[in-house]
Symmetry: C2
Subunit: 251 residues, 2 copies
Amino acid sequence: MTGKLVIIGTGPGNPDQMTPQALAAIGAGEQFFGYGPYLDRLELRPNQTRVASDNRQEIDRARAALDAASKGASVCVVSGGDPGVFAMAAAICEAVETGPETWRRLDIMVLPGVTAMLAVAARAGAPLGHDFCAISLSDNLKPWELIERRLRAVAQAGLVIALYNPISRARPWQLATAFKILREVLPVSTPVIFGRAVGRPDERFAVVPLGEADGQPADMATCVIIGSAETRIIARPGLDPLVYSPRGVEI
Amino acid sequence: MTGKLVIIGTGPGNPDQMTPQALAAIGAGEQFFGYGPYLDRLELRPNQTRVASDNRQEIDRARAALDAASKGASVCVVSGGDPGVFAMAAAICEAVETGPETWRRLDIMVLPGVTAMLAVAARAGAPLGHDFCAISLSDNLKPWELIERRLRAVAQAGLVIALYNPISRARPWQLATAFKILREVLPVSTPVIFGRAVGRPDERFAVVPLGEADGQPADMATCVIIGSAETRIIARPGLDPLVYSPRGVEI
């Protein structure tokens, strides 16, 4: 008997932003593996099993989920946002590559979702309207020197930058350091957008100029978008400004 | 009387990948502005007005939509994928900034969606599991030299690359040129993923090594993902391979 493994994303947090495809997969799943707070977002039936684990246990969680599927279960692995962006899909692939041969025969499916930067961008206007990149600021799995080099390279190349995992208790200094590096390349007026839990009741959202940006309003669940030199702010009377990156650029 | 303007994305094309939030906005809209084939995906009621325009008419379409909203209509601007990624949200912002003062008082809302690269990545495995970027290959709005410089910079920095608008009848040569440039930086074995209409009946999907990649299987609606030097392929007996970028990198 061979089971099935579906990797889904819950979207940014607002239930209205989870796709019907992901909702159907949740309805069909038997065993659910994920970080506790993401599993908490699902409405499971009593006969659906919940296997919660800590945020840092991704590869162990992936192996446990693959093991359950190989025993015949219909398994659902749950990420926040999109499962392919700094989330469980890559961890599952790593576990398959290094795991027993039988795991390669499993029916594995990844269902896309709305990743955090798209929700934060939509809340702000259109800051990702031009070429952009997504970089995880966590140095758990890559050296900090590489992150610094990438930040300089993409800022110099004129890309808008979305930062995931910007800060954590174990590394409180990295986001402020990233801003310092970016100030060497970008104008101090460049808009920086902080978005957390966008579209949920506990939303936090702020736009500040790069010259004044520090790590303050961010936590691990915040997505930070730093504009390019072209990114603009449209003031609107009585309304939030629109932050956007023009589609075109002239040199 | 002041109207309302909502900018939505239809997702990659599979109706199950459009968010309930976008579906609700469609239900509430009165006038719909968009590229014809995107409007064709909506099930509109007879009392909902459809204003289709050509793919290249983005700024004129944005102005027409804003004008309708300023006259009191409830307007829905429709993009494919996510409206903030190489789509209508930035065009609307540009039109607001350069338009009449009254447009700044409009209630404008952008609703995020699943952008093409996420659907193509999910189909392949997890190629966007590490730092990545999204670049439009169209030189309608930026010089080709800038595109070339960006491709070199991001490939050297180790980012996975998603290319939007990779080719069109007016510029058939650019995608092959992009591959040529990337071969100067990346191993010829680097996986290149072509995805079009993923999740729809007319899906086209292929994975080829960079050394053999040319512009052939792509058109304007294709999203092309080029791995980094770390991106890997897991062969699976009787199943499509999994293409993924490991979360970590060592130097």
